[in-house]
Symmetry: D2
Subunit: 140 residues, 4 copies
């Protein structure tokens, strides 16, 4: 629906004694990636919390395809797949410098009130931004 | 197949500004839990690496059911579901002090050579330990 | 002033590709250690926040003496050194199973209001607990 | 001796329930900063490990001046202070968007053999790069 690409380097503390990236870090990579997609369409995630709404992850899955290592320049391709009711879905593909797939993942998030954690509709300004960018060509 | 229960407290840096545990930490909780199951059947994970074999995660999924918070005493119930060929499967359920389900997850791991990362059979001593404990009653 | 000993094992994600514990993790080890000292004297850190006060770190220093590795059973010896005005000081020594010193550290924390981050006196119940346990023999 | 500036945004999992950045993360920020200084003078840290040498931290200290928060754009000003024998010293100052000092720190690292962890001289190509850039004007 909306695609966004971002590059980053693997940091030293992301590695473990196997010499590769510890599997828990991919959740952090993809979180950063989806909020950068949001920033790209004009809605920094902070502005959502400022409006009284949070987006906790309610399910996520990961498939590990290849290993990567310290200082590799990775590209994460994020897709905002769908937004419906109180939920939003993203998918992610992570590539190395040889354009080989490293990892792929899906996350499902809910919109909830900042104070009561009760499901709530996403802010209008987010829905509008998504509508506006729905047919953008994929960014590099 | 083999069940194991472990308790732990949520540490302060595991929380984020939502006030709950950041979703990336569950992967760390379950990693610790499965290696404690292994220790319980007499096979510390280190002994597997000492035999030249590693167990990287090749897929994992999580479902977030309830929030938890700093210093809560959680119980993780780990099940070694199956071991077949070069793969091993675990499932996890995480409960709070009121015995409410917080999170559930599955991980699939591969056995690979420590140096070449090529799939390889699990060490005999691990297979033997699993065989021995296959019909244990669930531990508390 | 008050001493407390605690044992823990090095977790896999605490390691980095050097094969040892990443240096950022010692701050987490010592945070857990000082709040366990507090729990030991009857004041879980959560009860301090419940009273409207937080204890952020305002300075810390670490000296790395020896390396450690995955699954090593470490002992952290924590000392509540002093509490005066709106500040509290702890020192830490971390030992391996051979009782060799791995790391030593000092942290200085402030008492601040939960909402305004303004320095404030520590809660009375903490001061009382410290007074009560001031002459305890070191715990094992 | 050599100065380098870098900007980055505070990631969500770097925060804790106080709403600010957990103090353990500053060690990670500064590690990334010093290796970016090294990359800037033409010596990616990876090339040092490729030459058989590692740079573990042997002492570090931090002073926390102001709080920061999720998504703030921070600037870290890193100074390679000195390199002598088998040691190297860096200092760091971290500023927010209002150019207020958030944190300052010092780290001392050793050069050691990748396999034996024995102190050793830094690689020639690093010494040469430092010599070449010693009188550079501060970078933005």
């Amino acid at each position: 629906m909306i695609n966004y690409e971002q590059k980053f380097r693997v940091a030293y503390p992301d590695t473990d004694r196997m010499g590769t990236v510890h599997h828990s870090n991919y959740a952090k990579y993809y979180e950063k990636a989806r909020w950068e997609l949001f920033r790209h369409i004009g809605v920094p995630y902070q502005s959502i919390e400022d409006s009284g709404v949070m987006c906790p992850v309610i399910s996520m899955k990961f498939r590990f395809v290849k290993t990567t290592k310290y200082d590799e320049l990775l590209t994460v391709k994020t897709t905002l797949k769908a937004i419906k009711g109180v939920r939003i879905w993203f998918t992610y593909k992570l590539f190395n410098e040889e354009n080989e797939l490293i990892n792929e993942a899906e996350t499902e998030l809910a919109f909830v009130g900042l104070n009561d954690w009760k499901p709530c509709p996403p802010p209008e300004f987010l829905l509008n931004a998504i509508e506006t960018h729905r047919n953008d060509k994929p960014t590099k």
